[in-house]
């Protein structure tokens, strides 16, 4: 469980940790660091493409950078570049960027997969979209785009106008008989992309030995909508903000918007009025409750099967939140409520009515949570199904870069709201929930308790908003009509989304649109751990584990 020490040290570390141990890091890296770079969030070291594994494992083992948060690849005029955004689970403000440039002619760089398991998918994505090749990667295939795709869409020489025509004969024939390994004892089973339990269009290639799962490989990309590219062609000021709602589209819109808002506000140095921060905090926590309700309901579907009471009850409660959010933002899911430097609107008039509705919801919540405990977690059959299934050990979870309720259910005390404070969280009284079970049950309980913590936060926000002096209710800072951050400023900023750490990397190129916009999706990293959790267990456990990860394919595929 929590060691408690981070939270005590934390106030001194609110500054970006550029000053911490740079001398030590320099000593550790020695002459492997060929140059220095400065990102707004972290110091950067440029290293040779052949030193990636050595540098990252030294940093992990000796300097404590045990969280490979994200891998960003991009192409400049003269080079390709991979950036490894490193953090510490114990203190996510202590960040470090490892920049690995490669030549345009020969974009080959050493893979980080042997050091951090999470690099597997991240590097595949970089290869798929940018075209950087990773030497020593166990399985460097395309991940988001089809195998037959021509070119790498985010590279400089890619022709976006050219249609991608792949004939059926060139492609794998979907209806040809498939007798792979006909004499083996195992059975290959496609779970998805059309299957009731995959929570969207996910394809899980499963090999079964009887009812036991022998091998699992999630195949993603069915819902890839070029979100990064779309953000790269929108202006910072207005046109990017509507899109984060569509990453994790089920309920968590405001949390996603905050990820972009935080990145751009730090990049463009915009100060957000405190009043707006309180509204943001309240809205984001409402979204978190809605999202966790949905997670609970769909998990119940996976374990119960069919339309169960739990699913409808969670939807009933989520509906109340959606009504509140509709009053606040004007839309039930695609909010577009945050603006750079604040929020679009003040609370709806009459304010008393909004407060009353919100407080009614909060008053009823404990009874509802108690009902869920009666209905779900107290049920012995539910317990036999969930306890000790889908086990995810803390070390494995860290190596896969799991975050959010998934890693907190494995006993890792990591929550960006507290550890890397933003918004109004650090001035409110609430707790980070962790659970030691490492299993499906722990993750469910973790979410249910987080709902109660979110309710606490909302309650405090409501108190603050009610008493806020009328003449200080600034909902937006004075932001220029066009934002043009200095060229080649780079920033990686993350917030605690409903599913975990949702990070945005932006490199500005001096125009009013980002030069590179990279989304670090929590679901993407969490989903990687599925194989680790379900191999050797039964099919029902695979389905339950998938449900307990609470993925949204819109965010996985982006």
């Amino acid at each position: 469980m929590s060691t408690g020490t981070e939270s005590e040290v934390e106030p001194e570390l609110t500054q970006p940790a550029s000053g911490t141990d740079e001398a030590e890091l320099e000593a550790l890296l020695g002459d492997r660091a060929i140059a220095r770079e400065e990102h707004l969030n972290a110091p950067g070291f440029v290293i040779n493409p052949n030193d990636v594994q050595a540098v990252l494992s030294d940093l992990r083992d000796e300097a404590g950078y045990d969280h490979l948060s994200c891998v960003t690849a991009q192409q400049y005029e003269d080079r390709y570049e991979s950036i490894y955004h490193l953090k510490k689970f114990a203190d996510p403000t202590d960040e470090l960027s490892i920049v690995v440039p490669t030549t345009t002619e020969n974009p080959v760089s050493q893979s980080a997969e042997p050091v951090f398991r999470t690099a597997d998918w991240h590097e595949r994505e970089a290869y798929d979209l940018i075209g950087v090749e990773y030497e020593g990667h166990p399985d460097l295939r395309r991940i988001l785009l089809p195998e037959t795709w021509q070119g790498h869409p985010l590279s400089k020489d890619y022709d976006q106008e050219k249609p991608q025509l792949v004939t059926l004969t060139e492609h794998q024939n979907p209806i040809q008989p498939d007798h792979r390994e006909a004499d083996s004892d195992t059975m290959f089973l496609n779970i998805g992309p059309h299957h009731p339990a995959t929570h969207g269009v996910l394809h899980v290639e499963t090999v079964l030995d009887g009812e036991t799962v022998a091998d699992v490989e999630p195949d993603i990309g069915y819902l890839h909508r070029c979100e990064e590219q779309m953000c790269q062609s929108g202006t910072y000021r207005h046109q990017i903000m509507p899109y984060p709602d569509r990453w994790d589209y089920v309920s968590a819109g405001l949390l996603n918007e905050w990820a972009y808002a935080r990145a751009i506000e730090d990049l463009a140095d915009v100060e957000v009025p405190e009043y707006a921060q309180v509204i943001r905090t309240m809205g984001a926590e409402l979204c978190r409750i809605a999202s966790h309700m949905l997670a609970l309901g769909t998990f119940a579907l996976d374990v119960y099967g069919e339309f169960t009471a739990t699913f409808m009850y969670t939807f009933r409660d989520r509906e109340v939140i959606q009504d509140l959010l509709e009053d606040l933002t004007g839309q039930r899911m695609m909010f577009n409520y945050f603006r750079v430097g604040g929020v679009a609107w003040d609370l709806p008039e009459p304010r008393e009515e909004f407060f009353a509705q919100a407080r009614d919801f909060l008053d009823e919540l404990p009874a509802k949570v108690a009902e869920y405990h009666d209905l779900i977690t107290g049920n012995e059959i539910f317990q036999t199904r969930c306890i000790d299934t889908g086990v995810l050990e803390p070390d494995v979870a860290k190596s896969y870069g799991c975050t959010g309720p998934v890693v907190r259910g494995s006993g890792v005390d990591y929550d960006l709201r507290r550890d890397d404070p933003y918004g109004y969280y650090d001035q409110l009284d609430w707790d980070v929930i962790t659970r030691d079970g490492c299993d499906n049950y722990a993750r469910v309980l973790c979410r249910m308790e987080e709902v109660e913590e979110s309710a606490k936060i909302i309650e405090q926000c409501l108190d603050l908003l009610e008493e806020w002096p009328e003449d200080e209710r600034d909902v937006q800072a004075n932001v220029p009509r066009t934002l043009k951050p200095d060229a080649d400023t780079e920033i990686y900023r993350a917030v605690e989304g409903a599913k975990g750490e949702l990070g945005i990397y932006i490199r500005s190129d001096g125009t009013d649109k980002p030069g590179r916009f990279k989304i670090r999706s929590p679901c993407f990293s969490n989903l990687q751990a599925l194989a680790e959790m379900s191999e050797g267990e039964y099919i029902p456990d695979l389905i339950a584990s998938l449900g307990s990860l609470d993925i949204v394919l819109g965010e996985v595929d982006r």
């Binding site: 059975m187 089973l189 299957h195 009731p196 339990a197 009812e211 119940a300 579907l301 996976d302 374990v303 119960y304 099967g305 069919e306 339309f307 169960t308 009471a309 699913f311 409808m312 009850y313 009933r316 209905l375 049920n379 059959i381 539910f382 036999t384 199904r385 039964y538 099919i539 029902p540 456990d541 389905i543």
Partner: protein, 361 residues
């Protein structure tokens, strides 16, 4: 106790015979007997099918909706009851899509086996008001036997569909039926020990005797009251046998898409779907007969069929209740509960009952 004095309508004369008397068909010897049996079977069959028609498209939705705080069907007819006709038209007019890889005769036969096995079981059930087609001395064994045939239908459906999910569902059905058939029959045996007969009518009559006489009301000697332990065991085994929550392994929506019935559409789907309800009702009918006094209830004996229907619907309602409230167990847990739990308990129950009956006797 003499049967004739308690329920004259019930067991003395079977439905075909009475029909024969009424219509005068008895005069025509064997042919007439056959014809009157056929008419009786049609009456009973229609009754049961009418019940499933109400249960499948309408009652199931209404019950689930009330558990989940929804409104559900209410547009056609009072309380939406007209949906039965609408659904029938809709399902029957759909294209019957048969997968290319289907193993034809088996694929076509499976729905018939599933439905037929359940309907056969009703032949020996005394439904009160004189409705019983046959009353062989091995009635209970017959009911168990034909109900067990359903699992062959499930395997056929699962195997012949040429779909891996169906196959998994079919295999689960076998494992499950083998594991739960034995506890089911063994627990049923404990009732036979009480009644001293396998004949359905005798079992029903034996339950008519009062257990406790409170003066105003006499609580009858229903075996659910005499041996509640056996009743609970039988209920659980029955849920597994008919594949309902928490034991809906062969179907397992969400895991196996829809299990053995994944590839069925149109008429075949209707049959498979009705088959499920028929089996729930057959399970309910057996439970009512051997544990709940069959058609017994207050009021004149002619009301027997009403009481009997209510009891069956009670069991059906329980399945729907569990469906909305109880998670599904895992296949290995299901087998474990069956072999290590229910089987042992059912034998213990049998032994205990035998000892008690022996001592009393």
């Amino acid at each position: 106790m003499n049967a004739a004095t308690t329920t004259p309508l019930q067991s003395d004369v079977l439905l075909p015979e009475r029909l024969g008397d009424l219509t005068g068909l008895n005069e025509f010897g064997l042919a007439g007997e056959l014809l009157s049996t056929l008419i009786g079977a049609v009456i009973v069959g229609s009754l049961i099918l009418a019940m499933t028609a109400v249960a499948g498209p309408w009652a199931k939705r209404k019950i689930t909706a009330s558990f989940t705080d929804r409104i559900s069907i209410n547009q056609i007819g009072p309380a939406g009851i007209g949906i039965i006709i609408a659904d029938a038209v809709r399902m029957l007019s759909k294209e019957n899509i048969i997968p290319e890889n289907a193993d034809r005769p088996a694929y076509d036969l499976a729905p018939i086996v599933i439905v037929g096995s359940a309907l056969l079981g009703f032949a020996v059930i005394p439904m009160g008001s004189g409705i019983q087609l046959a009353d062989p001395e091995v009635g209970l064994a017959f009911a168990f036997a034909v109900a067990g045939i359903a699992s062959i239908g499930l395997v056929m459906a699962g195997y012949s569909s040429g779909n891996k999910y169906s196959l998994l569902g079919g295999l689960r059905a076998v494992a499950q039926n083998v594991a739960y058939e034995i506890p089911l029959v063994v627990t049923g045996m404990s009732v036979v020990l009480f009644a001293g007969s396998l004949q359905m009518s005798t079992i029903v009559e034996a339950q008519a005797e009062p257990l406790v006489d409170l003066g105003v009301v006499a609580i009858p000697q229903w075996y659910a009251l005499v041996n509640p332990f056996a009743f609970v065991l039988f209920l659980i085994a029955n849920f597994a046998e008919v594949g309902r929550n928490p034991f809906d392994m062969p179907e397992a929506p969400a895991e196996l898409v829809a299990g053995y019935q994944t590839e069925y559409s149109s008429v075949y789907f209707v049959l498979v779907y009705l088959g499920e309800f028929l089996h729930i009702f057959l399970g309910g009918a057996i439970i009512s007969t051997i544990f709940l006094g069959g058609p017994a209830g207050p009021g004149p004996a002619a009301l027997g069929i009403v009481w009997f229907t209510l009891k069956i619907w009670g069991v059906f309602f329980l399945t729907q209740w569990l469906r909305s409230a109880v998670p599904r167990v895992r296949i290995d847990q299901l087998i474990e509960i069956g072999w290590k739990g229910l089987l042992v308990l059912s034998f213990a129950n049998l032994g205990l009952t035998a000892a008690i009956v022996g001592v009393i006797a």
